[in-house]
C-alpha cells in the first residue's frame, strides 16, 4: 500500500470509500445505541436490571434544571431580536402590528426548540462525552462490564430518559420566555399593551404550532444523547482523545440538529 501513496488515481477514491464506510458504520452505531438504550428503559426491569430512577432524576437536574436560567435568558433575547427584525421589516409595508403573529409562529415552531437544543448540546452533550470518555480511559467502563453492569443501561439510558423529558420541558419554557421578550420589545417600540399582545398571540397560534416545536425537541434530545454517549464510548488515546471526543460531540450534535430541524420543518409543513 505504501508504494502506491500519492501516485495511483485510485487513492482518493479509496479514501472516499473508506470515509463513506466509516460514516455508515458510525450511523449504525448511533442507531444501535439508541435502540439498546430504549430496550433497557422499557424492558430492563424484566431482566432485573432496571434503569434507576435516582440516576434519571440526577440527570434531569443537571440537564434540565441547571440549564433553565441560560435557556430562559437566551430565549428572551431571541424574542426581542425577532421583534426588532419583524418590526423593521414590516414597517416598509406599514404592517408593524403583524409582528406579533410572526413572533408567535417562529418562536413556537422553530426558535425555542432550536436554541434549547443548541444550549443543551453545548452544556450536556459535551459533558456527557467528556464524562464517559474519561471513564473509558480510566477503565471504569471495563470495570462496569466485568461487574456485569451494562454500560449502556447504567450510563446511557438514564441520560436518554432525562433528555426526552427535559429538552421538551426546556423548549416550553423557551417558548414562554421568547414570547415575553417579543412582548416587552413590542410594548416599548409600538406601545402595544401586554393584554393585546397575549390576545393576538393566542389567536394566531394553534396547538399544532407548539406541538411541532415539541416533536422536534424530542428528536434533538435523542441526537444530543446518542452522539454525546457514542463519542464518549469511542474515546481512545487518553486525555487528548477525551478532548477530541468532546469537541466532536458538540459540533456533530449541533450540525445534526440543524439538519434535522430543516428536514422536520419541511415534512411537518407539507
Amino acid at each position: 500500500m505504501a508504494d502506491t501513496a500519492g501516485q495511483s488515481p485510485a487513492v482518493p477514491i479509496e479514501h472516499l470509500g473508506r470515509a463513506a464506510v466509516a460514516g455508515i458504520e458510525e450511523f449504525g452505531y448511533y442507531f444501535l445505541l439508541w435502540l439498546e438504550s430504549l430496550y433497557w428503559l422499557l424492558f430492563g426491569w424484566t431482566r432485573k436490571q432496571p434503569v434507576r430512577l435516582a440516576a434519571m432524576a440526577a440527570q434531569m437536574v443537571t440537564i434540565g434544571i441547571a440549564a433553565t436560567p441560560i435557556v430562559t435568558i437566551l430565549a428572551f433575547t431571541i424574542g426581542v431580536m425577532l421583534a426588532i427584525q419583524g418590526i423593521a421589516t414590516l414597517k416598509t409595508f406599514g404592517a408593524e402590528e403583524q409582528v406579533v403573529m410572526g413572533i408567535a409562529l417562529s418562536v413556537t415552531r422553530e426558535f425555542a426548540a432550536l436554541i434549547t437544543a443548541i444550549v443543551v448540546a453545548g452544556r450536556s452533550g459535551s459533558a456527557l462525552a467528556a464524562r464517559i470518555g474519561t471513564m473509558q480511559v480510566s477503565q471504569e467502563i471495563d470495570a462496569l462490564r466485568v461487574m456485569s453492569i451494562n454500560p449502556v443501561r447504567y450510563l446511557a439510558a438514564p441520560v436518554l430518559a432525562a433528555m426526552m423529558v427535559m429538552v421538551p420541558s426546556l423548549t416550553l419554557i423557551a417558548d414562554f420566555a421568547a414570547l415575553l421578550g417579543g412582548a416587552v420589545f413590542t410594548n416599548l417600540e409600538l406601545g402595544l399593551p401586554y393584554a393585546a399582545y397575549l390576545d393576538r398571540t393566542l389567536s394566531s397560534l394553534v396547538f399544532d404550532d407548539v406541538r411541532q416545536g415539541l416533536v422536534k425537541s424530542l428528536v434533538f434530545a435523542t441526537i444530543i444523547t446518542v452522539i454525546g454517549v457514542s463519542n464518549g464510548f469511542q474515546v481512545t488515546g487518553g486525555a487528548e482523545g477525551v478532548g477530541r471526543a468532546t469537541t466532536r460531540a458538540v459540533v456533530l450534535s449541533i450540525s445534526y440538529i440543524v439538519v434535522a430541524d430543516m428536514l422536520f420543518t419541511y415534512f411537518l409543513n407539507r
Binding site: 505504501a2 431482566r47 436490571q49 474519561t134 471513564m135 480510566s138 477503565q139 471504569e140 471495563d142 470495570a143 462490564r145 466485568v146 461487574m147 456485569s148 453492569i149 447504567y154
Partner: protein, 266 residues
C-alpha cells in the same frame, strides 16, 4: 452449572487474538486450578494485558476458546454471562474507581445492582471488606482523596464484595512503593486463605511474583514460554526467561539489510 470442584476454573485453549492485522496472542493454552494463585508474567508488549482482557471476556478472540468456571465466554448467553460475572472480581491497574462516588458507594455498587439487600446490610458488608483491605473508616472519602496504594486496596474491596470464586489483578504493584507493594502481596495471600479464591495476577514485578505465586506463566511475544512453579521458572534455561529474570536487555540480532530497509521506509 455442572462443574466439579476439581475442574480448572480457567480453561483457555488455542486462544488467538489480533489487533487489526497484527497478531497479539498466538494459540495460547492455559489452565488455572481451583484455589491456585497464578502469575502471568511478561515484559511490555508480551500480550499479557490482552490475555487478561480475553480472560475477562472484554475482547472477542479471533480463534480458540476461553472457559471460565465452565462457561464458554464467547458462546455464553447474556444470562449466563451475567451469572458468571457475579462470580468474578477484578482489581484494575489504576483501580478504576468511579470518581463521582465515595469509596463506600463504589464498593457497594455491585451489591446495589445485583443483590436485593437493605442499606444497613450493605453498609456492614462494605465495612467488612474495608477491614479486609485495611481501609476501615475510609468509606466516606472520594477516590480523589486517596493515595495510590489506598485506591488499589479500595479496588480490591470492590472486587471481592460479591465473594467471587475467581479474582483477577492487573499489575497490582505498578506505581507503588516497595512497602505498599509488599503489603498488597500479603493481602493477596490472605484473601486466598480467607475466601478460598482462585487468583490470577498479571504483573512484571519479579519479587512480588515469586512471593505469591503457586505457578507462573511466562508470556513472550504473544505465546507462552513456560508454565511452572517458582523454582522451575528460576531454573528454566530458556534465554528469554533468563533475560526477564535477570533484567537483561533483549538481544535481537540486527540484520543489516532489514535495518536499512526500515530506515528508508521501503
Amino acid at each position: 452449572m455442572t462443574r466439579t470442584e476439581t475442574q480448572p476454573v480457567i480453561e483457555v485453549s488455542a486462544l488467538t487474538a489480533h489487533y487489526g492485522s497484527r497478531k497479539i496472542l498466538d494459540s495460547i493454552d492455559f489452565h488455572v486450578e481451583p484455589g491456585e494463585i497464578r502469575i502471568i508474567m511478561g515484559g511490555s508488549g508480551s500480550g499479557k494485558s490482552t490475555l487478561l482482557r480475553h480472560l475477562l471476556g472484554l475482547n472477542r478472540p479471533t480463534g480458540g476458546t476461553v472457559r471460565l468456571l465452565g462457561v464458554d465466554v464467547a458462546r455464553a448467553s447474556a444470562g449466563q454471562m451475567h451469572e458468571l460475572r457475579r462470580n468474578i472480581g477484578v482489581a484494575f491497574q489504576g483501580g478504576a474507581l468511579f470518581s463521582s462516588m465515595s469509596v463506600g458507594e463504589n464498593i457497594k455498587l455491585p451489591l446495589r445492582e445485583h443483590a436485593r439487600l437493605d442499606e444497613t446490610t450493605m453498609d456492614i458488608m462494605v465495612r467488612l471488606k474495608l477491614e479486609v483491605v485495611n481501609l476501615a473508616g475510609f468509606e466516606h472519602l472520594m477516590p480523589a482523596q486517596l493515595s495510590g496504594g489506598m485506591i488499589k486496596r479500595a479496588a480490591v474491596a470492590r472486587a471481592v464484595i460479591m465473594d467471587p470464586k475467581l479474582l483477577f489483578f492487573d499489575e497490582p504493584s505498578a506505581g507503588l512503593d516497595p512497602v505498599v507493594s509488599a503489603e498488597l502481596d500479603e493481602m493477596i495471600l490472605r484473601l486466598r486463605e480467607a475466601m478460598n479464591m482462585s487468583i490470577v495476577v498479571v504483573t512484571h514485578e519479579l519479587e512480588s511474583a515469586f512471593k505469591i505465586a503457586d505457578r507462573i506463566t511466562v508470556l513472550d511475544h504473544g505465546s507462552i514460554l513456560m508454565t511452572g512453579t517458582v523454582p522451575e521458572v528460576q531454573n528454566c534455561p530458556h534465554p528469554r526467561v533468563q533475560d526477564l529474570l535477570n533484567r537483561r536487555p533483549r538481544r535481537s540480532e540486527v540484520n543489516a539489510e532489514d535495518y536499512l530497509r526500515r530506515l528508508t521506509g521501503g
